[in-house]
């Protein structure tokens, strides 16, 4: 069946149309290997998505299992996302089901150093509340610093205004931590603001400071209230980072992430219903590049680069006005290119790391001197 607006069918036998729609040549398909490599490199980075049906099935299975055996069910539900995990245990609390242990959250396509526990004993939070605890660097396969008991629920209103600030942190040192025992927060609405410094775009490995300010509805600070820093690294679920802290007399709490290695969303939580707006922090990769010395008269040279903050399999381009080459990073985050060398003039190039969910794009300009042959 030919459509009415098929207005160019009469040109089907036209030589130009036939030439334009001729079968592909070998030259046009010469980059197939590169396209295939780019696709295969991108596939492992895609986050595994759970369909609604699968989540529902998993949840129902978990509920049924919980009715049979609390211990087995707790082990099984530990595989659920944190939010589902919390809801399930809340709904089934009357069954006296033990809470699951913290589950490891492996990251995709990344080297996995030995797991490092960052869970502090609960008593440490109560007896020595550090105002600005330093969160150890979290390796990709480290377990989540989930609490071993449900967090306390403050008596506060669930409808809270939330603001986000991205200004630099205050230069005044934080006040000393409170020494008095924890007290209940006021039964009024509170506001939790979050400040991330040095900003929302940081080079890979940068130290990021997250500060929060907890205030009541009348603007007065809420002191000695438990605040938790949660993070959602790219492609993963929300998870707690480090140990909770208590707000100072001025209602402030601070956390330090010594080395941010991938994009993440950060938010502060003060109880079940009080949280700040998530702040996205983007990691900028760092490119280290080496150009091999060119022999006199050489027509090409080798450019080697290493990208810190990228993932194995990420695509890297070396671009020039005359075209581009692309390669994928190996396990050591390295790639090499063979680029042309002019005998008479300097050639400028740009090495480009494409943006992924784990990091921002970044480019580095470099040049190859003339070979002088």
């Amino acid at each position: 069946m030919r459509h009415r607006d098929d207005d160019i069918s009469r040109f089907r036998e036209d030589p130009v149309v036939k030439a334009l729609t001729a079968p592909a040549s070998d030259a046009e398909l010469a980059d197939e290997a590169q396209a295939r490599a780019a696709f295969s490199a991108a596939v492992p980075q895609r986050p595994r998505r759970r369909s609604a049906a699968r989540i529902a099935t998993t949840s129902v299975a978990a509920v049924v299992t919980l009715g049979v055996s609390g211990g087995v069910a707790a082990a099984y539900t530990a595989s659920l996302p944190d939010s589902w995990q919390a809801k399930l245990h809340k709904d089934l609390s009357s069954l006296h089901i033990p809470a699951p242990k913290a589950k490891p959250t492996p990251r995709i396509a990344s080297p996995s150093p030995p797991p490092v526990s960052v869970i502090a004993p609960p008593t440490a939070v109560q007896t020595s509340p550090s105002h600005a605890p330093t969160v150890p660097p979290r390796p990709h396969s480290s377990p989540t610093s989930a609490p071993t008991s449900p967090p306390p629920t403050p008596q506060i209103s669930p409808t809270l205004p939330v603001t986000v600030q991205t200004t630099p942190p205050a230069t005044t040192p934080p006040p000393p931590p409170p020494t008095s025992p924890p007290t209940s927060p006021p039964a009024t609405a509170v506001q939790l603001t979050i400040t991330v410094s040095p900003g929302n775009r940081v080079p890979v490995g940068s130290q990021v400071t997250v500060e929060g300010s907890l205030t009541a509805a009348d603007g007065s600070p809420v002191a000695n209230h438990r605040v938790v820093l949660t993070e959602r690294p790219a492609g993963e679920h929300w998870q707690r980072v480090g140990t909770p802290v208590r707000t100072s007399a001025s209602g402030e709490a601070a956390f330090t992430i010594p080395s941010l290695e991938r994009n993440a969303r950060l938010t502060l939580r003060a109880g079940r219903h009080v949280h700040s707006t998530p702040v996205r922090v983007v990691v900028i990769p760092v490119i280290a590049l080496t150009v091999a010395p060119t022999a006199p008269g050489a027509t090409s040279t080798t450019v080697s680069l290493q990208v810190r903050g990228a993932q194995p399999g990420d695509v890297v381009l070396v671009r020039h006005r005359g075209g581009s080459q692309q390669a994928t990073l190996d396990g050591a985050l390295r790639a090499s290119f063979t680029v042309p060398v002019s005998q008479t003039q300097v050639i400028h190039y740009r090495a480009v790391v494409s943006r992924t969910k784990a990091h921002a794009a970044h480019a580095l300009a470099f040049y190859v001197p003339a070979s002088g042959g």
């Binding site: 130009v16 149309v17 030439a19 030259a27 050639i347």
Partner: protein, 207 residues
Amino acid sequence: MGTTLIGKQPSQRARRPDPVAGPADEPLDDALRRARAGDESGFVELWRELHPRLLRYLRVRSGKNYEDVAAETWLHVIRDLPSFIGNVDGFRAWLFTLARHRAIDAARAAAARPSIPVPDFSAVGRHPTAAAAEAEALDRMSTDHAIELVKRLPPDQADMVMLRVVAGLDVSVVADIVEKSPGAVRVSVHRGLRALARDPQVRSEAV
């Protein structure tokens, strides 16, 4: 009977046969579905079918850095493919829309940064491709020549001709991409093809 599909998403448009030499889309729908699921063979199938058309379109639209633009387009496609919804018609429209935007960006960047001619970048580290047969070589010359002829058309008209003939997009899709009315696209493409058919070199080759 024709239908007016203005305002609908490409994925919602009615399927219609390629007017000139369009590919059979049913296998490509399956390839698209597999590619979205992460199957490399499905993606390669799509790439083999659409990349040559994309290159030909970009040779007219983008100039000498067309391979660079095509590579960036495919990287964009790979990145966002899991979130793509639609059939292969919609995918083709999406692909060429991305390519057109990339070409426009590249043209702006080229205008801002003057270039220095260098040796052929693509020739380094790449083995030359030998022609399979004389007939194929002649076909390639004919395709190259046809592209050069299309380049002589006014840019907007050449853009529409390539999107309509080479990309195999519907009139309404092309109209959405170039932000013109379907009637204007239909007339412009028709005039462009007639102008190409009247070209003395084409007529001599036809004889």
